[in-house]
Amino acid sequence: MRDASPRPAALARRRLLQAGALALAAPALQGCGSASSGPLRFWAMGREADVVGTLLDDFHRAHPQIRVRVDALPWSAAHEKLLTAFAGDATPDIAQLGNSWLPEFGALGALAPLNAWVAATPALQPADWFDGIWQTNVVDGQLLGLPWYVDTRLLFYRRDLLARAGVAAAPATWAGWTAALDALQASGIAHPLLLPINEFEPLLALALQQGDPLLRDGGRYGNFRSAGFQRALAFYLQFFRSGHAAAVGNSQIANLWQEFGRGSFAAFISGPWNIGELDRRLGPGRRADWTTAPLPAPDNSAQRPGASTAGGASLVVFRRSQRQDQARTLIAWLAQPAVQQRFHALTGNLPPRRSTWQRADAAGQRLIDEPRTRAFATQLEQVRPAPAVPEWERIAQEMQLLAQRAVAQGLAPLAMATALDARVDRILEKRRWMLARKAAA
């Protein structure tokens, strides 16, 4: 009797195996790109991925025929995952992309250009976007993304400590900056400026304030021996040689906000997220003590304020997506000033359109009227894109590594720039070969 019913058991086992095989295959099937059915696939990173879901409820009401599925990627793994997705033909329909990655994905041919669509869409006027930010999305004449939020670096400073040192207002020129730091030092702060030696943005901003391009001959060679970069580097190194800044890396600062609140330093260069962080960590009671200011300009004749970096993230449509129309509909919807305003309220990210800054929210407040964010609006009018070559991130890292050496080992600016140019030329070798081959064809 025991062997009477072997069949159901065998059948059940086979079903189980089949189910198992299906379960194994299912993620692989989902992972396939270029699907023409199912929800629109949207890859977003970090906090934005958490927040964009709440915005999408309204989008789904306005466009019931489009469903969007958001996949969250951590920032630290996003670049790798996107490249792997490209290699495996599994790119999503739409993604959030740091704008410094656009040249790279442009070189891969992974992104669908948006020029024609933007030209044909009256709601999207390029003139409404901050110019420097818009430029970061244009690679070789093609518009590869639409800026979603912006990021730039400027001065955060302790107003009370500056006043105590006898400095009435934030400095507007390099000379004023040095004088203010001298005064702060005299008032008893050993290293008044925090300038982590492993962050490349401050030095890049100083270099972008000069007229000289950082790469020459269409991004074929480094141009770090230019007079402009020498000036920027010499000024940067002076912060450390005069003791205005201590030669520390950012992992050595246990708690930036606490130290700032305690007055261990009176100023640092950072981005918009720190407005929210400082409010949270120091509390609203300390709000009067600190504020923001655009970067100082090299001298009186230069444009004010001094230029800074053009960072942020853009929304891109992938070339292999079969639903580019729907993806663009979503991008246009997210670019509306009203939606951007909600996005700012949820994340603290700064909007890239001037009309969003001018728009009054439910409480009648305009972003441009808030003193701490206003400095960012002023700065955003003066941001300059970094060279649009795929190798840029690596070049920026090499620049900072050599700057660190210059700080630690007293390397002269010219020696450092010469070494940097040699390294950069080596990094750009493949690019030169490709450009030469393209020209020959």
């Binding site: 891969l108 492993n198 992992s251 493949k430």
Partner: protein, 300 residues
């Protein structure tokens, strides 16, 4: 060969075939592809279009060997190995001996406690260690201060960053070897000690003439495994210092990771991987040779 022998052989092969297929697919093939990659300049452009791939021959190897950063990474790695391996083995052997001592109390508790770092997450542990190593608020520097010593900028000073990483790595990993040593110690017959004690051997002589020789093979195996593991230093600098300050904690594997997965120069990264492989083979074979020679000397 008779038919019966042949069929026996076929059966044997068919039994090992699945394992061979898996090894071939997941080990031999990737290694072969990696070797092939190291002879090209595979990068982001080649990913976009195969026509952008150039055969590089041994250029990648030549370039890596002329790279100052590679030699620095090699020096850093060797410093880590030279400091870390003996320290790790001494610490795990010491703890194993203490735990095996008849005087030790609460053995299971201490064994678990000393093994705990091995099974904790490095990323979580790194946060704690960053605080311990902190210049102003760190426990280690307050300890130094209590002894009247100057504070050390552990993670910010290029001279001290690697020793700090060694301390973390040894603390994190010594538990595994300790367990192996405990097992080996338990396998030493008690009669040997009894006989030696009858001959008048004291504690030190017991350790020198009974315990250590009996541990010989284990010691050799643990050394080889630890050496091979420590050559592949990566996670500790990755979470603690990102290779800094002044690239003083960039290891060879860290350099490979940066080239391959950060800058996507897979050709170059593969070349570094193979150079590291050769180095590790040389080091472990050297150690095995030393071990064999030691045995021969001992038996002679």
């Amino acid at each position: 060969m008779t038919w019966r022998q042949l069929s026996k052989r076929l059966v044997a092969w068919s039994f090992v075939a699945p394992a061979l297929a898996v090894i071939g697919l997941f080990f031999a093939l990737p290694v072969a592809i990696g070797l092939g990659l190291s002879l090209t300049d595979f990068d982001i452009y080649a990913l976009a279009d195969w026509r952008n791939l150039r055969l590089a021959g041994l250029d990648n190897y030549a370039h890596v060997l002329t790279l100052p950063l590679f030699w620095q990474a090699l020096r850093n790695t060797l410093l880590f190995v030279v400091l870390g391996v003996p320290l790790s083995i001494a610490l795990s052997l010491g703890c194993a001996l203490l735990l095996q001592s008849p005087l030790a109390r609460f053995k299971p508790f201490f064994r678990t406690a000393l093994f705990a770092p091995v099974v904790t997450t490095l990323v979580a542990v790194a946060i704690i260690w960053r605080y311990l190593f902190h210049v102003r608020y760190g426990l280690i520097n307050s300890g130094l201060g209590a002894l009247g010593l100057e504070p050390v900028d552990w993670l910010g000073d290029p001279r001290w960053a690697m020793p700090a990483i060694v301390v973390l790595a040894v603390w994190k990993n010594f538990g595994v070897n300790m367990i192996i040593f405990i097992a080996a110690l338990q396998a030493i017959p008690e009669e040997l000690y009894e006989a030696a004690r009858l001959d008048g051997a004291r504690r030190w002589a017991l350790l020198r003439y009974i315990t250590l020789p009996m541990l010989g093979p284990t010691l050799l195996m643990v050394s080889v495994l630890t050496l091979a593991g420590y050559f592949q230093l990566f996670a500790e600098p990755y979470v603690m210092t990102q290779g800094g300050p002044l690239q003083s904690t960039v290891s060879v594997l860290y350099l490979m990771y940066e080239e391959g997965f950060r800058w996507w120069n897979l050709g170059q990264a593969s070349a570094i991987a193979f150079i590291l492989f050769v180095l590790m083979v040389v080091a472990t074979q050297g150690l095995l040779w030393l071990g064999r020679r030691g045995e021969r000397l001992a038996s002679a």
